[in-house]
């Protein structure tokens, strides 16, 4: 079982990672990919994600290991941007491949809920030239509770 987990500080094209990821798992029955992008939102000029090196990547690695242990996967790919992004740019990409579709679909859903609600990232958005921190949302905790 392969995992590929990365923090990226520059814009990326998900397809450039997903192609080689699926090619590396011949015999798969299904691959499920989610790509999250910076929403085009009235007044939002940019989004900045900050992270803490000693915790963020190791936390993502642990999450990938948990997904591999929990679902019957052949491999998982987990990419997350940090730094300043513009609307329309990809922020996150999770892809899972498996012999059977449900494991791949559920693993991606699981990984995304945990990346959103539990991973060590802090976000702020720029509106009219001013930066505003984004506070945690109740929905994120509800999303995490689905998996307990």
């Amino acid at each position: 079982m392969a995992k590929d987990v990365r923090l990226l500080s520059e814009p990326f094209k998900p397809g450039a990672f997903i192609g080689p990821f699926t090619d590396a798992h011949p015999g798969l029955g299904g691959v499920c990919t989610f790509v999250g992008e910076v929403r085009v939102d009235e007044g939002v000029e940019a989004l900045e994600l900050s992270h803490y090196e000693p915790l963020t990547l190791s936390g993502m690695e642990a999450l990938a290991d948990e997904a591999l242990a929990r679902f019957d996967l052949m491999g998982i790919l987990m990419l997350h941007r940090v730094g300043v992004m513009r609307p329309g740019e990809p922020i996150v990409c999770v892809s899972a491949c498996a012999r059977h579709r449900r494991a791949a679909i559920e693993a991606v859903d699981f990984a995304m809920d945990h990346l959103k609600g539990n991973a060590w990232f802090w976000k702020r958005e720029q509106r009219a030239g001013e930066w505003h921190w984004i506070e945690p949302r109740a929905e994120d905790h509800a999303d995490l509770a689905r998996w307990r």
Binding site: P54, K116, W122, W133, E139
Partner: protein, 80 residues
């Protein structure tokens, strides 16, 4: 050498810097003494966690840091 204290997220804005050196040994009361009132109040919140050398401390008021250690002050993550 000293203890490196790292401020994450909006705590960095309140601190006006992303990290600060503090004298060792450093514990919870020593840390609060070093922070100005607004920052100390933010750090007192139940939602702010503390990591020492990349390990999140279960009960932050029991953290202890010595020479060369890195203490991170972690506000809640932003979510979606």
């Amino acid at each position: 050498m000293a203890v490196k204290v790292v401020f994450l997220g909006k705590l960095a804005d309140l601190a006006g810097e992303s990290e600060r050196g503090m004298a060792f040994p450093l514990d919870w009361s020593g840390l609060l003494n070093e922070l100005d009132a607004e920052l100390a109040e933010a750090v007192l919140s139940d939602k702010v966690r503390i990591a020492v050398n990349g390990e999140v401390i279960a009960n932050k008021i029991q953290f202890h840091a010595g020479d060369g250690d890195e203490v991170a002050l972690l506000p809640p993550v932003s979510g979606g």
